[in-house]
């Protein structure tokens, strides 16, 4: 870990964001044990109830406990986000770093491919991929990862090239260090904060997309709960339960906000100039 990333750790906003994210991850991992009631058990006698002692966040149109559905739905949202960001990181950051070895033809082609992928809107592309390759939990998320790749590629490449032109790199090369060694020991550590900022931003963006997709019913198997799915089931009953969307909406907002705050804090303390993720 680079020194600059350690500096960010001292900021209160970073600690608060990390605490929020730790809670979310804990919910994702232990959701099935933590949820007070069965998230898929229907209870027709208690449909569309408001918050009460038995159901802290009320029940949905099938009488299912909303709190339990939100808690056990965390796993799908977090996993989907991690999958998308992980795919983007592997497909984008690694070629971006390696690309400093290659010439202008490679650059031109790679940039055009990146431009082409950036013209595809996340959600429509993810729906299309789910339509063609199957509506499973992984297809749509990996599609988002493919579209995140050009963002990682551009940012990593720009940053890597900047540091490859530094004088100490020139000095290392004059001393006979190989290109691989230069990238590994002198460039990678410097590029890391940029990748960190981009990863946090990409995670925030993917969580929004994953929530939108699960709201549309893409990448989810119906009775299983998701954050977006809870919102979708509230939609038909806004007249009876106008405040029902508040809890899932806040959950999404707080998590995305924590990721954004983390990205901003790392950007400010390290001085990297990574653009916000589209």
């Amino acid at each position: 870990m680079s020194v600059s990333l350690r500096g960010a750790w001292r900021l209160p906003s970073v600690r608060l964001s990390l605490a929020v994210l730790a809670v979310v991850v804990a919910l994702a991992v232990f959701g099935d044990w933590l949820s007070p009631l069965d998230p898929v058990a229907q209870n027709p006698a208690e449909r569309l109830r408001g918050p009460s002692g038995g159901h802290l966040l009320g029940t949905d149109y099938l009488g299912r406990d909303v709190l339990s559905r939100l808690i056990s739905g965390t796993g799908a949202s977090v996993l989907g986000t991690l999958e998308a960001v992980g795919a983007g990181l592997v497909l984008g950051a690694v070629p971006g770093l390696v690309s400093v070895f290659f010439g202008r033809v490679y650059e031109w082609v790679a940039m055009r491919v990146a431009d082409a992928l950036l013209t595809l809107p996340f959600i429509i592309f993810a729906i299309a991929v789910a339509g063609v390759l199957g509506n499973g939990p992984h297809q749509a998320m990996l599609a988002i990862g493919v579209l995140l790749a050009p963002v990682f590629f551009r940012v990593t490449r720009a940053s890597a090239i900047e540091f490859t032109r530094a004088q100490y790199v020139e000095a290392a090369e004059l001393l006979g260090a190989s290109r691989t060694r230069v990238v590994r020991t002198h460039v990678l550590g410097k590029v890391l904060p940029t990748i960190a900022v981009t990863t946090a931003g990409a995670a925030a963006a993917s969580l929004l997309v994953v929530s939108s997709l699960s709201f549309l019913g893409i990448g989810v198997a119906p009775p299983a709960p998701t954050w977006g799915g809870v919102l979708a089931s509230d939609l038909g009953f806004l007249h009876q339960q106008p405040l029902a969307p508040l809890a899932p909406a806040l959950l999404i907002m707080i998590t995305v906000g924590a990721l954004n705050a983390l990205a901003d804090a790392v950007r400010d303390t390290t001085g990297v100039r990574a653009d916000a993720v589209v």
Partner: protein, 330 residues
């Protein structure tokens, strides 16, 4: 002092540079279009879905599959299929749906009218609200209004457009019934009802872009207002308004306009989800229904049209930026 540099004939250098730039731009655009359409068409082939299998399901016999593959031209080599599809697309034909046999182009145009209605409204609102907020924030630099705008922008960027949509429905359709909560009427049928129906989705969609525009405009305008030419203009006695709008804003608007361009794919994606909240029969519903049925030509057609819109929007943004700053276009 005389210059030692021999001046080049300006018109010639300018023209050559402009032609070279246009050629480079066109080459990039064509490559981007070819790659993205190839991905779009390749996706369909990659899935290996077949019209007979999709329509008839388990009961499809090998003869059915062979017959329908031939009917839809899927028994030809992949590259031939791709080139034919792209050639047809240029002339406005996107094939027929495997299920309804209806021309894909017609369904896509139907859906597109809905999405363009709300997206254009959203862009207009985002530019107005975001531009106004960014301008005000930069002028009040560090003041109360500036801090309020920064806070609202930070919150706005955490809310997905569809959650805004649900909030607006709760506020302005359920609690205070000002607007209908959903549905769509074409513009040429009933313009007033059309406007009433697209206002809430348009507002919901505009928030995210408005926040980004405000943030970007604030940052670049604060920077511009600290430049020497601004001090110079003030010293020469120009009015504050003239300095702000004619000098600083003109130089600071570029990045904010670029943000509008970057937002177009996100707006179209957001429109797809917003459609669901407001029960609008748009491109998103079309794509989603096609996806659930594996209706590959419809999926491909919808994606192609989105790509073309995004490219047109990017081109328009580049032209506006180049007009504002003749020097910025390398």
């Amino acid at each position: 002092m005389t210059s030692l540099i021999v001046p080049r004939p300006a018109w010639r250098a300018g023209t050559v540079a402009r032609v070279a730039r246009m050629a480079r731009g066109t080459a990039s655009l064509v490559t981007v279009l070819v790659v993205s359409t190839f991905v779009t068409y390749g996706l369909g082939a990659l899935g290996g879905a077949n019209p007979a299998a999709a329509v008839l399901g388990e009961t499809a016999t090998p003869q059915d599959i062979a017959r329908m593959s031939h009917e839809f031209g899927l028994d030809r080599p992949f590259l031939v299929q791709y080139v034919t599809w792209l050639g047809d697309a240029v002339t406005g034909h996107l094939g027929r749906s495997w299920f309804t046999q209806l021309p894909v182009a017609d369904s896509v145009v139907q859906g597109l009218k809905v999405d363009l209605s709300i997206t254009v409204l959203a862009v207009a609102l985002a530019v107005l609200i975001g531009g106004g907020a960014g301008l005000g924030a930069a002028v009040s630099d560090g003041g109360r209004f500036d801090r309020a705008v920064t806070a609202v922008c930070a919150v706005a960027s955490t809310v997905p457009a569809f959650v805004f949509g649900i909030g607006l429905v709760v506020l302005f359709a359920v609690t205070i019934p000002l607007f209908p909560s959903g549905g769509y009427v074409p513009l040429d049928q009933d313009p007033v009802q059309w406007l009433r129906l697209i206002i809430l989705p348009g507002v919901a969609l505009s928030f995210d872009a408005a926040a980004d525009i405000a943030r970007q405009l604030r940052t670049s305008l604060v920077g511009a207002l600290r430049q020497n030419y601004v001090t110079g203009a003030v010293v020469r006695g120009l009015s504050a308004r003239r300095v702000l709008f004619r000098h600083a804003l003109r130089n600071a608007a570029g990045p904010a306009i670029t943000v509008v361009g970057l937002h177009v794919p996100r707006l179209i994606g957001g429109a797809v989800v917003t459609e669901t909240v407001f029960a609008l029969p748009g491109l998103g519903q079309l794509t989603r229904e096609a996806a659930l049925k594996h209706d590959v030509p419809v999926i491909q057609g919808a994606l192609l049209v989105t790509i073309v819109i995004v490219l047109i929007a990017n081109l328009a943004v580049n032209m506006v930026v180049a007009r504002l700053h003749p020097g910025s276009s390398r």
